[in-house]
Point group: D2
Amino acid sequence: MIRAGIIGSTGYAGQDLVRLLHHHPEVDISFVSSQSYSDKEYSEVFGNFYEIMNIKCINTPENIEELDIDVLFTALPHGITSGMISRKALDKFKIIDLGADFRLKDVEVYEKWYTGHMAKELLKDAVYGLCELNRDSIKDTSLLANPGCYTTCSILAMTPLLKEGLIDKNSIILDAKSGVTGAGRGLNLATHYTECNESIKAYKVAAHRHTPEIEEQLSYAAGEDILVNFTPHLVPMNRGILVTAYANLTDGVEYEEVKEAYENHYGSEQFIRLLPEGIQAETKWVKGSNFTDIGFTIDERTNRIIVTAAIDNLIKGAAGQAVQNMNIMFGLRENMGLEYLSPFPI
Amino acid sequence: MIRAGIIGSTGYAGQDLVRLLHHHPEVDISFVSSQSYSDKEYSEVFGNFYEIMNIKCINTPENIEELDIDVLFTALPHGITSGMISRKALDKFKIIDLGADFRLKDVEVYEKWYTGHMAKELLKDAVYGLCELNRDSIKDTSLLANPGCYTTCSILAMTPLLKEGLIDKNSIILDAKSGVTGAGRGLNLATHYTECNESIKAYKVAAHRHTPEIEEQLSYAAGEDILVNFTPHLVPMNRGILVTAYANLTDGVEYEEVKEAYENHYGSEQFIRLLPEGIQAETKWVKGSNFTDIGFTIDERTNRIIVTAAIDNLIKGAAGQAVQNMNIMFGLRENMGLEYLSPFPI
Amino acid sequence: MIRAGIIGSTGYAGQDLVRLLHHHPEVDISFVSSQSYSDKEYSEVFGNFYEIMNIKCINTPENIEELDIDVLFTALPHGITSGMISRKALDKFKIIDLGADFRLKDVEVYEKWYTGHMAKELLKDAVYGLCELNRDSIKDTSLLANPGCYTTCSILAMTPLLKEGLIDKNSIILDAKSGVTGAGRGLNLATHYTECNESIKAYKVAAHRHTPEIEEQLSYAAGEDILVNFTPHLVPMNRGILVTAYANLTDGVEYEEVKEAYENHYGSEQFIRLLPEGIQAETKWVKGSNFTDIGFTIDERTNRIIVTAAIDNLIKGAAGQAVQNMNIMFGLRENMGLEYLSPFPI
Amino acid sequence: MIRAGIIGSTGYAGQDLVRLLHHHPEVDISFVSSQSYSDKEYSEVFGNFYEIMNIKCINTPENIEELDIDVLFTALPHGITSGMISRKALDKFKIIDLGADFRLKDVEVYEKWYTGHMAKELLKDAVYGLCELNRDSIKDTSLLANPGCYTTCSILAMTPLLKEGLIDKNSIILDAKSGVTGAGRGLNLATHYTECNESIKAYKVAAHRHTPEIEEQLSYAAGEDILVNFTPHLVPMNRGILVTAYANLTDGVEYEEVKEAYENHYGSEQFIRLLPEGIQAETKWVKGSNFTDIGFTIDERTNRIIVTAAIDNLIKGAAGQAVQNMNIMFGLRENMGLEYLSPFPI
């Protein structure tokens, strides 16, 4: 059994990770830690665990190098994990970081969008854990940077188009919509029930931190540096991300060629579902599961492609992908503990 | 492997049953049938099954006696299943009926609240499948009447109080609140999004068909015929039932005695969770799971007890309990295929 | 024109009051004050006022006796208003308090459920402003205690039944359901979007502070001290309160007699609508308006009456009733500034 | 007083129109008609009107030329109004059509996106009633084509940019999000509560009928034919439309120039609110009102502008704009009966 510790277990992503690991046949949870709820029964914090998991939250471990585990999951605000880990820790166990600290290779870009980086020397060891794109590197790393939610959905939607040269690389517009769990469990007027219920808005327009992460990965796909417009919206629902992506098609590109590109890249992926012609992605069909659904339409009048992609932001966009990465890193069946269908309607 | 057929597989309860059976390690789905979607891919009707289950809906079988299966699940409007089944069918395979046809023993009561009964001669064979209360009879039956959603929650909440004589038997008031899946997938102005969103109402006041079902079962618990007030409400959410129950306490009854009664009856039940003092049931902690959560408070000022009980109406209130009953009927581990925690927030 | 000041203008009730007063043909808003947003444009706090009302929030006035206004509205947490007002202030202008400080006549009861009272000497001057029941006293008072939201709905539902002796006075059970604005604008995990969306729960069972307020008023109606069970629930919607009330009928009471009682008491009330037989109150039909809708059903099987009553908690349950009270106190047409229909669906 | 008749009064737009006209100081409602509810009390169909408006729905008038009214509002599925009206009717009274029949000048485009046109000879008389853009023509017409909801919001957002040559005319992408009332009151699985709650999807991608309407009007603004991408999304909320628009900026265009363009066009418009720098439109601040809120951001990295615009789809997007048009056509104060602030939170 894999002994797993979870630091930051009482945020939404942390909690969904604890749930998935609890059901995982090859994992034993060694500890769950929490800054806010240390010494509290985990089931007092999350009533769904009542009578299921009798474990107390511990305080964040002071020296993680002393932990006797096989894998450490960290789900923390940016800047904290990088101040906590070390090469010595990485020699002892694997680390899967659900935060932003190791997602960007370009430290300048990181420091521009975030803050000063605390562990630059480890950046080169980190592997960006978008499973379907980096499977081989994931196998061998000890330091896994689990991608962001918007980014997972956006990158998976656009990569085949860029790799196959089917679109104008500088025409990408990503209009993204997220449920409110994306904003976390911290209290904030913007996510107070009566402030976001029954309304929709864009936020952090042209300024969201997932932008450089998307751009870095899509630049790899494009083979050159590209910029995108990424606009997140807050939707009055608990879970789910929908990305509606727009791009100008390369001259002469038609439906079949696009379809083939997606099939070549994702046809054998068990967690990516390419929807039949005319069907667009809807968050309800992936909610509660680790799937990414992708549909697209070509508008011949404007010669643009419109791609829709949907994920559950807490699963494929966080905890589920973390488990998928763990499975790859430990040589397990990649879908172990992740085979759930979306319950519907939920 | 148990070969299972599902008639009425494209309603919400039917679909949740298909999902649970698909994940069940000891079940093979032989067929799914549907009046409305026959000959359609199941995954066209429910996109969550896309690329997971490639099976077409068949038409409702004309002669069920010819089915070569081990168990038949029926999830149909009242009156249809009873017109379809026969002793001969029951000799060939087990039947678990998620509808109302075999829930009431008293055929006069059935005909008063519903309509003429089509299979009176089979009524005596039917076992009311509230697992925690009738486990022994369930083991031996071929005809299982799976309880209603409101009823499951109401009966589990009140039974220990009645059995132990802790309350005035004729003082029970059940104020119940349900998510909109309880009304099914059929189109109706009352469940049109913009008609029920952002509003709450009572409906079928003093006239809901779950009333006699609750009364019959609670009368068994009380040892005498009792009547209750049962008022259902429609809540703007997808899933979940909360029952807030009121009763006058027998003189002198105190907290500890009530607590003991619940523990004696349910302490070893894995799908009933008795909440700590001061904690009331919330639907969010059971949504997506087969659990029933029960909390209670004694109001010493009025000498009444207030009990709160919560279930997922499609799981413990329908498909989950049907699987639990199947497990009992086939001698499997009772929680097989039902061990899921509620994902939260969902 | 009536010069009005509003202290506590940036809570939800305060803001709805500012909106109603802004539209009121006989009112000039002199100032709006706020602890949290002093010196901020009101329209920065509430974007609906953008370009409509250019007024800055001032700090809470230190000495209200110096205010040069005709009426002061206070919408503050309990205990603050009573520490702020004085006889001298009451001699200068009228005060309409939307808080709890002057609602209970019995100071012992107040101090048991709330805290020490800061202005006991003014309690006898205060009039409980449930317009339809106390219209005459409201006309002459300078200190108006505006009722609570749950209480307005509960008291209006039950008063005619008690006054006419149609029910057993000690059998009243009030099962109340409220939208989330009832919990205010202050941040709290319980009202974080993803914690209360898609779930329903009871809270403060047998312990909610509106209980003694309901009991005091219903005791006046009954002519003797009575106790009730009152259970509030949190419903995932913005606005609206539904009270489902239960009581044992006095022997022999029938539908017509009950109907007549309601008509005698409320038949000429423009803000109370008695629903036709068989129709129950729904919050959606009163949302955004000052109406109270009341329906009822008699269950002959149990000899109980079930009454449903609905209001908009921020209007008839707070700001609207405050304006209605102001209209009465200033001799204006009682529905001035309150004639709005509910927009639907909203 | 203006005598008004409403055909199609029991859809959502029709009903909101009846509400606004009921409150309008210069209008008497002569009749409300309905195919589905003829001979029913209007307040039985919409409980918000209970005890407010005692009027029965009549059947759709057979010969509208005989109506003795001043203005006829039609809120019907496309193709019906054009089959009903005539020059003779237009000579007798004014017609304001909330449907699509007279919105497009180009009959070929109409017949491509809709169906054969029944009254081509009247098309040249019709004026497209986007009040802020066509005020002068509206004054003089008898046949007013009230714009669509998505179109109103999209056109208002983009017109100043096109008129001032600030953007690349063929780079416009309109990503639109609507509440569910936009889909009307007709029953449909897509708008069944539990099918659209807690999910978001795009629909009619590159195929929505509002596309040619937007293009025709924006082509007038651009001075040449232009095409756009328009993608509607269904958001789980009752009301509100948000349009997030993207376009490539003309070289050298900066924030101040854009701001000036909007101010020049809309600075004196009472129903358009230009938001301060950094603020984006949110549907909650316009819900229940006739306002259009517009915000924008320039992304210097990509040289694109992102515009956000929000309206209440049933008010500025339908009934409110119809009343605004009526006010203009009858020489009344343009905001008469439309001065309401958005109630919040609602």
